[in-house]
Symmetry: C3
């Protein structure tokens, strides 16, 4: 079984304006995640709108894609922080299932 010894975790991907990336990284840290990966200078269009209905992003604006993986016990704090951010700032988040080796590195 290929995934023997791997542990289920949750991947959270966030796309925000590049200027908001430090805020997301701070939220990650506050939620206790032990690491993240950031892809900067990403472009994007849309995802619909913010709660007043204005466009989230304009095409070709400088966005950042931030990726982190968290164990179940850190997920509530992480998602709550991101939801609060998205009440004020444009962005999207995608949550999905992943398996990792060495799960202790995500729990420290």
């Amino acid at each position: 079984m290929s995934r023997a010894g791997m542990a289920p975790m949750t991947k959270v991907e966030v796309v925000v304006a590049g200027t908001d990336a430090p805020h997301v990284q701070e939220l990650f840290t506050q939620a206790g995640v032990t690491g993240y990966t950031a892809v900067s200078n990403v472009s994007g269009l849309g995802h619909g709108g913010y709660h007043e209905g204005r466009l989230l992003f304009n095409d070709q604006s400088a966005l950042s894609l931030l990726i982190t993986v968290a164990p179940e016990e850190k997920l509530d704090a992480l998602l709550a922080g991101l939801r609060t951010l998205f009440e004020r700032r444009s962005g999207v988040m995608f949550v999905s299932d992943v398996y990792v080796s060495r799960p202790e590195y995500f729990r420290s």
Copy 2:
């Protein structure tokens, strides 16, 4: 429950030659997706070959990775458009399950 209030959607990731990225963006729009993220200047090798057996990509060629998330009702049109593209152009697509908050932004 961490995913309370989140809605299941489908993430579609497409890797194509950078010169074909505008075509993919157009397909996204035609399928009614409300947004996407594009990572340009990605490199890659392979994924096997196109139907005549030629290589999909050469190593280090300038590729684009385009990511979108769609609700079920837009998925058929989206995947049909991409399949038609891949009959003529090199590329791969990966389809996976994600959860999003604020699902209404993906349905507008």
Copy 3:
């Protein structure tokens, strides 16, 4: 059914120091994967530590994100190679389920 004709495969995402990316690409090739995508100049922090407890990455170090998709029959060799690499080198890998069209291109 949107995913009719699509085949389940496994996506493996690896984040390593940019200088280790060629080693990962070599592991991919040895495991027989038919393609991969590489995003270079990614930044990152953490994911905890390596087995002596030192930090995996320092913030803003130049990392690479490598993405491949493999059928079940190639997965054991792929994950075994990566686990061996991570005994000596810093990095993380995330394993998840995806669906692909044209599965024959991932099996050649």
